[in-house]
Each structure stands twice: as structure tokens, then as C-alpha cells.
């Protein structure tokens, strides 16, 4: 029930509420702002994203240009993060890799939401035998380990690029979201106002689209930041193994792979992308935590 209330708060505002009603969103926003860790994480997250977008544009260095004389430089004014074994500027290159990593992260999360919401909504809304069948199928998929599944998906697709990575990672990890949405829809379905809507002859698709799905919005917002770290780590892992993004394109995972050969002598090459991954994942977790507290009315005044 509390989940519906959370969802209610979020969706209500989304429906274009006048100022008096915005207390719903404002409430959540105020609670979020009171959580210092979450605010710091949010700011850092935004900074990283801005850096990834802006750095490659304004940087004097070409992130893919090989300059052997500059190889293995430590951090300096002209190369804040140093250079790698090919003399590429790591500050620019890490930003470029971040674009790919974060892009795949958000792309796959969005795909997870689309698949998960569609599957979960159908399962929860129709119920009965179909629900049972869909959920047992999900149970079967649930048993498959995440990364091997993604690798398998990539192998089946045959080519590896940004979009196939998005597909592979989302196909391997939409199960939790589907389950969460199904659970939400099932609880929401029991609400009196849904029955009241049926009682005045509202058609099923209007009930699903207007009375049920908007109320899952709060949970979905949280799900975005809960799924994001997993996907980003998955991408990094695959690229590190050489199964993901291929050179000369960079992702944080493939950059860490580049740094592996010389990690004793020049540890900064592996540390920079690893730190970036760790920071982003940590931020996403903090944000998810903050959102959950902010969107749950039970945590009102703590």
C-alpha cells in the first residue's frame, strides 16, 4: 500500500498539477535535499556527466591520436590524468569512454524499463494463468547468471558495438524490473478506485494507462538508479575482458584493460577508469537511496 502512495505522490505531480498540488513533488524534493549524501552524489554524478560531454569537445588533445613520445606520462598540467602507453591524453579519453559507458548504462536501463514495464504490466494486469506462465518463464531466466547471459546474447547477435551492448545488457537484466512492476500493478489493481472505474464502465486500456501505470512511476524512478550501476559494471566487465567495446573506441572497461599490461609501473592508466566507474556506481547507489527515502512518505520527518 505504501508503494501505491509513493507512486501516487509522484504521478499526481506529473499529471500537470497546479501550484497547490505541487506539494507532492516539492515534498519529495525537500526530503531529497535534506539527505546530504544523496545531494552530494547527485552533484558529483552531474559533474561527471558534464565532464564526459564537454571535455572531448574543448580538449586540445585528440583522444584517439597516438603519440609515442608522450607515452606513460604521469599527471601534469597539460595532461591532468597523464597519458597511456600510446601517448593518448587520459583526461580526454576517459571523458570519451565515459560517454560510451554512461550512454550504454542509460540506454540499457531505458530498455530494461520498457521490457520490464510491458512484461510486468501484462502479467500483473491479466493475472491468472497467463500471469502464472509468464512468471514461471521469468523464474527460469532468473536462474541464468547475468554476465554469461549477456555474453551469450552478444555472441548470438554477432557484432559488438554501442547498440548491441545495450541490447545484450538489457536482455540479461530486465527480470527484476518486470517483477517489481507486476507486483505494483497487482497491488494497485486491488484499489477501490480501480474497481470504481470499472463500475462506471471505463475500458480496460484506460484503466491500465490512466489508473495503474502512472501510479508505478515513483517506483520506476528509483528503479532507474538501481539498475544503472549493474549495467555500467556489466559493460565495464565485458569490455575489460575484451568482449565489449573494441579499440580504438574507448569505454571505461576497455581503458582499464589497456592499463592492465603496465599496472605496476604506471598504475594511473588502470586507476583512472576504475575510479571513474567506482565513483559513478557509488553515486547512482546514493541517488537511488535518496530517492527511495524521498518518495516514501513513511520516512517523512527523520
Amino acid at each position: 500500500m505504501s508503494a501505491t502512495q509513493i507512486a501516487g505522490r509522484v504521478a499526481g505531480v506529473d499529471a500537470g498539477a497546479p501550484i497547490r498540488q505541487s506539494s507532492l513533488w516539492q515534498d519529495a524534493w525537500r526530503r531529497y535535499l535534506r539527505n546530504r549524501g544523496a545531494v552530494a552524489a547527485g552533484i558529483l554524478f552531474l559533474l561527471i556527466v558534464v565532464w564526459c560531454i564537454v571535455a572531448p569537445i574543448v580538449s586540445p588533445h585528440d583522444p584517439n591520436r597516438i603519440e609515442f613520445p608522450d607515452a606513460y606520462q604521469g599527471p601534469s598540467w597539460s595532461h591532468p590524468f597523464g597519458t597511456d602507453q600510446f601517448g593518448r591524453d587520459l583526461f580526454t579519453r576517459a571523458a570519451l569512454g565515459g560517454r560510451i559507458s554512461i550512454g550504454i548504462g542509460f540506454g540499457a536501463t531505458l530498455a530494461i524499463l520498457l521490457i520490464g514495464v510491458a512484461y510486468g504490466a501484462i502479467s500483473g494486469f491479466v493475472g491468472g494463468k497467463l500471469d502464472n506462465a509468464l512468471m514461471r518463464f521469468l523464474d527460469a531466466l532468473y536462474g541464468l547468471p547475468y554476465l554469461p547471459f549477456a555474453i551469450l546474447a552478444l555472441a548470438i547477435i554477432g557484432t559488438v558495438n554501442f547498440w548491441t551492448m545495450v541490447v545484450a545488457l538489457s536482455v540479461a537484466s530486465w527480470f527484476i524490473t518486470a517483477r517489481v512492476v507486476r507486483g505494483q500493478i497487482m497491488t494497485l489493481k486491488e484499489n477501490d478506485y480501480v474497481r470504481a472505474a470499472y463500475a462506471v464502465g471505463v475500458r480496460w486500456y484506460m484503466i491500465l494507462g490512466r489508473h495503474l501505470l502512472p501510479n508505478t512511476l515513483g517506483v520506476l524512478v528509483i528503479t532507474i538508479f538501481l539498475e544503472l550501476p549493474g549495467v555500467i559494471l556489466g559493460e565495464a566487465f565485458l569490455s575489460f575482458l575484451g568482449l565489449g567495446i573494441n579499440p580504438p573506441d574507448a569505454s571505461w572497461g576497455s581503458m582499464a584493460q589497456d592499463g592492465r599490461d603496465a599496472y605496476r609501473a604506471h598504475p594511473h592508466i588502470i586507476i583512472i577508469p576504475s575510479l571513474a566507474i567506482a565513483t559513478l556506481v557509488l553515486c547512482a547507489n546514493f541517488i537511488a537511496d535518496g530517492l527511495r527515502d524521498a518518495l516514501d512518505p513513511r520516512t517523512k520527518e527523520t
Binding site: 501516487g8 504521478a11 498540488q21 477501490d192 470504481a196 470499472y198 463500475a199 464502465g201 484506460m206
Partner: protein
């Protein structure tokens, strides 16, 4: 006055793992055009299930209308497809639910929720629907109706919300309004207002109404006819005045005796009268009269302990399901 709704031998059972729950087990009644039928009974006697059966709103499975017929203005409702039902619900028959705190979607403005129905059934365009919605709110007694269309349910008090729920229910001028305990969740002070409102609306719109309640006082105030339900069956049905002054069924008598009498000066110190025992298990109801175990008149070797009494017409419009109606008892003792 013709009959608007005729329910005959309605049986709605729930098929659960523990067994078949005979929630409604052979209910007959009819509602006259423009009249109010009160259905009273204690919790779990099948009042609400009867109402939801008429609307065909029960989840199937586990619930199923096993037999019987529900005719609305000559049209059989039990065999309609879901698609056809959608056109009946809200247009011909509408329902007011018990708890106004949950019967409105908290995420939509009340305007949106009223307009949704108007557009669905009457096909009004947005502007006309909005104007009509404001008129409806005004009609159910919500001040500054036009401005309040853009408010959310949580901006309204319980009583006001119930008025909104009623506005939605009567939006398309249904011919039958089913009110399932419409005042139970409200403050006592507001209850009377809501009942008056329902009564006014019924008269103005020439609607018939089924008023479901466990409150005898509510029935006495607004019903033309009363049906008393017990354990999934109607045990007594009569015009309201007749039922309150000449109750025949021992259960009805007991219910009326259980009402506290405020004129009695000792009322405060006296314990409230209760009916001993509990209603039977509806998974395996007794073969005999379902009230026999609690009936003060059921003796040993009595016919009512062996075979279930049928609903019989004792006087015109006064039907009762017992072997010991009050009038026959008097005849015996006299």
C-alpha cells in the same frame, strides 16, 4: 410502477481452496422504478456480493454466478459479454462504494475523473464535459464547483469525497444506483447529509436505488422496501413501514431488539442486546434453516431443523423464510 430490476434465485459462489463458499445462495428480489430497496444484514451475509453480482464486478475466478438471473429492464445481465457490460456500467447501473477515501484515484483531479465517465458514455467533447462536471459537483452540494474541478481527492474531506463519488455515479443519469454502505466510513454528522443527498438525487433523477447497509436506522430513514439477508439468503422482505412495525422473522425481530433505545433512561447502564451465536459457515451451510442454531423458537424435532423453510408470502408484499413467523406464533399461543 414497473419493475426495473428483477433478481431471481441468484447464487454466487466463491471457489476457493478451502471449498465452495456459498456467499449468495438463492436470492430473489426486485426493485421498482424510482424506489429504494434497502438490503440489511450483518457482515458477511452476502449483501455486497449481491451488489457486485448485479454489476458483474466480482473477480472470476474465484467468484462465479452459478445460477439465477438478473434482469435489468427486461435485459438479462448474467449473460452479457464484458464489452456489453462496460456499456451498462455507469450508464444504466452505477455504484457508490463504501469508502470515499479509496474510491477516488489520488493521482487524478476529480474533474478528470468525472469527465472520464462523461466522455466514455455520453461522448461529450472536453469543454461540454467540463461544464457538465461542474454542474454535477454543484448538484451534489460542493461549493465553488467550477474551481474545485482541478483539485485532487486529498483536498476534500471524507463527506465531500463521497459527494464526488456520488457525482461520478450519477454523471450519466443511470436508472439504478447501487449504494454499498455509502455512509459507513463517514462521520455520524455527515451520514445524514449524504443520505439526504442520495434521496434527493433519486427523486430528481427518477432513479431506483439499492441501499446496502448494516444500519437499521439508515434503512428506516430512506428505504421504501427492505430485504433482510442472513447467511447468503433473504430471510424477510417487506415494505419498510411494515417490516419495522410487524417484523415476522425471528432474526429481524432480534436485529430490531438489538437497537439501543435512547428514550429509555436506563439505556446507559444497560448492556446492549446481542443475538447469541454466530452465522453458519458458508462453505458447508446447514441443510436445515440457516438461522435454526440461533433461533429462540426452533425446538427439537421441529421441521425447521430438518428441512430449509422456503420464502413464502405471508401477506401481500411481505415475504418471510421461517417456520415460525411472529404472526403464526401468536396464533398458536392465543
Amino acid at each position: 410502477m414497473g419493475r426495473l430490476l428483477e433478481v431471481e434465485d441468484l447464487r454466487t459462489h466463491f471457489f476457493t481452496r478451502a471449498g465452495v463458499v456459498r456467499a449468495v445462495d438463492g436470492v430473489d428480489f426486485s426493485v421498482e422504478k424510482g424506489k429504494t430497496l434497502g438490503i440489511v444484514g450483518e457482515s458477511g451475509c452476502g449483501k455486497s456480493v449481491t451488489a457486485l453480482s448485479i454489476m458483474r464486478l466480482l473477480p472470476t475466478p474465484p467468484a462465479r454466478i452459478v445460477s439465477g438471473s438478473i434482469r435489468f429492464d427486461g435485459r438479462e445481465l448474467t449473460t452479457l459479454s464484458e464489452r456489453e457490460l462496460e456499456d451498462v456500467r455507469g450508464r444504466e447501473v452505477a455504484m457508490v462504494f463504501q469508502d470515499p477515501m479509496t474510491a477516488l484515484n489520488p493521482t487524478l483531479t476529480i474533474g478528470t475523473q468525472i469527465i472520464e465517465v462523461l466522455r466514455r458514455h455520453l461522448g461529450l467533447d472536453d469543454r461540454t464535459a467540463r461544464r457538465r462536471a461542474a454542474e454535477l459537483l454543484d448538484e451534489v452540494g460542493i461549493p465553488r464547483a467550477r474551481e474545485r474541478l482541478d483539485d485532487y481527492p486529498h483536498h476534500f474531506s471524507g463527506g465531500m469525497r463521497q459527494r464526488v463519488v456520488i457525482a461520478i455515479a450519477i454523471a450519466c443519469e443511470p436508472r439504478l444506483l447501487i449504494a454499498d454502505e455509502p455512509t459507513t466510513a463517514l462521520d455520524v454528522t455527515v451520514q445524514a447529509q449524504v443520505l439526504d443527498l442520495l434521496d434527493d438525487l433519486r427523486r430528481e433523477h427518477e432513479m431506483a436505488m439499492i441501499l446496502i447497509t448494516h444500519n437499521m436506522g439508515v434503512v428506516a430513514e430512506s428505504a421504501d422496501d427492505v430485504a433482510v439477508m442472513y447467511a447468503g439468503q433473504i430471510v424477510e422482505q417487506a415494505p419498510a413501514h411494515e417490516l419495522f412495525h410487524r417484523p415476522e422473522h425471528p432474526y429481524t425481530e432480534a436485529l430490531l431488539a438489538a437497537l439501543p433505545d435512547l428514550d429509555d433512561s436506563d439505556a446507559r447502564s444497560r448492556r446492549l442486546t446481542a443475538i447469541p451465536g454466530r452465522p453458519p459457515d458458508l462453505i458447508d451451510p446447514p441443510q436445515a434453516c440457516r438461522f435454526a442454531a440461533r433461533c429462540p423458537y426452533a425446538g427439537c424435532g421441529d421441521s425447521c431443523a430438518l428441512e430449509p423453510p422456503a420464502l413464502r408470502e405471508l401477506r401481500p408484499d411481505h415475504r418471510v423464510r421461517t417456520a415460525h413467523p411472529a404472526s403464526e406464533r401468536e396464533a398458536v399461543t392465543a
